[in-house]
């Protein structure tokens, strides 16, 4: 996006004025003037498994931050400064969403689809489905199922507090766990086994206890907590990775 010299000078003056007055009106004008940049950058992250509308939204938040933080006396072009901030915001969005930005969209979609298939099939046949059964149900090859499961686990080394991809279960689970606080006593007792366990959030600690100390299967834990089995699997992998790193720290 380009501005002619007169527009550029007008914007520069607005930035100087905004730096002094912090006027919401000026702020709005400055953001609006640069929305094209936010949209342009959002498009560059399109086709990676997130809706473009969401990306534009995220980029706009980045733009807003850039407008607020930009210092016009430093002699850096606003577009340069804003690009850096907006791209940072977009990357963080993907990281928080848990997707490695490289994971192909097709695999992300298959992974999310498998989550539902695993839940339905498990219920139908009364046991955990085999990979072959998942492949048949999803109408893809076994290799694709395995690749999707691996791609879905790419969050492993991503932010530990981030919500999991495609999940709106996080809140439901934490509120549920709040109610079951009295049941945490067992876990607290077990925690004396390793102070490392106490570095985990309560819900992860509870899942670890159910799986490794009480011997429940992933699907049993999923049923008990009212979340998907795939989510249990993700949380387990993430917790174990966190414990290993904590042990080494």
């Amino acid at each position: 996006m380009t501005f002619d010299p007169a527009q550029r000078e007008e914007l520069r003056q607005k930035f100087v004025a905004f730096a002094e007055t912090r006027s919401p009106l000026l702020r709005g004008e400055l953001v609006t003037a640069h929305l094209g940049l936010a949209e342009y950058l959002a498009r560059r992250f399109n086709n990676r498994g997130e809706p473009l509308d969401d990306l534009v939204q995220v980029a706009s938040v980045g733009l807003l931050k850039a407008v607020d933080r930009f210092d016009p006396v430093r002699g850096v072009e606003f577009s340069t400064y804003a690009t850096h901030t907006i791209v940072g915001e977009l990357k963080r969005h993907f990281r928080d969403k848990g997707w490695a930005v490289r994971a192909p969209r097709r695999m992300q979609e298959l992974y999310l689809r498998l989550g539902k298939i695993i839940a339905n099939l498990s219920q139908e046949i009364g046991r955990s489905p085999t990979i072959a059964e998942l492949a048949t149900e999803a109408q893809v090859s076994e290799e694709e199922v395995l690749e999707a499961l691996e791609a879905g686990q790419a969050y492993r080394f991503a932010s530990l507090d981030a919500p999991s991809p495609g999940d709106d279960e996080g809140d439901a689970m934490s509120s549920r766990l709040g109610v079951e606080d009295n049941q945490m006593e067992g876990a607290e007792h077990r925690a004396t086994l390793s102070p490392l366990l106490s570095t985990l959030p309560a819900r992860e600690r509870r899942i670890l206890q159910l799986r490794f100390f009480d011997g429940l299967t992933q699907s049993e834990i999923a049923t008990q907590l009212g979340i998907s089995q795939m989510h249990v699997s993700r949380l387990l992998a993430r917790s174990l990775a966190q414990l290993r790193q904590a042990a080494d720290a």
Partner: protein, 131 residues
């Protein structure tokens, strides 16, 4: 091989050699889940196996700051998979010694049927059976 007197021998075997970086240890997981899938393991069993491999590979080579090679041997039996890993670590080792915490031991007990870590020989072994 029901009539084979050596039925305990592996039906098939796969060897894999990867640099000790976390990015490539991923291949150890992918190979294991591919073989487990051939054996008809369930989703849960495959997930358990992947977690166990992560745990043991990490015990052996840590975060991968140590340059070296991780050699994996996968032996496929009738209904079970045995995986052995050996680390060839270069002279620039960071002095970190392989180890399993008490917690890791417990976790592995729940994930696989057999497991061991030979600290001296930089070697691990695990067995996962299909239910």
């Amino acid at each position: 091989m029901p009539n084979d007197p050596l039925a305990t021998d592996a039906v098939e075997a796969v060897d894999l050699s990867v640099p000790t970086s976390p990015e490539l240890v991923r291949l150890a997981r992918v190979t294991a889940s591919g073989l487990a899938s051939r054996l008809g393991f369930t989703y849960e069993e495959v997930e358990d196996l992947r977690l166990a491999i992560d745990e043991l590979c990490y015990a052996l080579v840590g975060k991968g700051h140590v340059s070296g090679t991780l050699r994996l041997h996968y032996a496929i039996f009738d209904g079970s998979l045995e995986i052995e890993g050996t680390a060839d670590v270069g002279a620039d080792s960071d002095g970190r010694s392989p180890h399993l915490s008490e917690l890791s031991e417990l976790i592995l007990d729940a994930l696989v049927d057999e497991h061991s870590l030979d600290v001296e020989g930089l070697h691990f072994r695990l067995v996962k059976r299909r239910v």
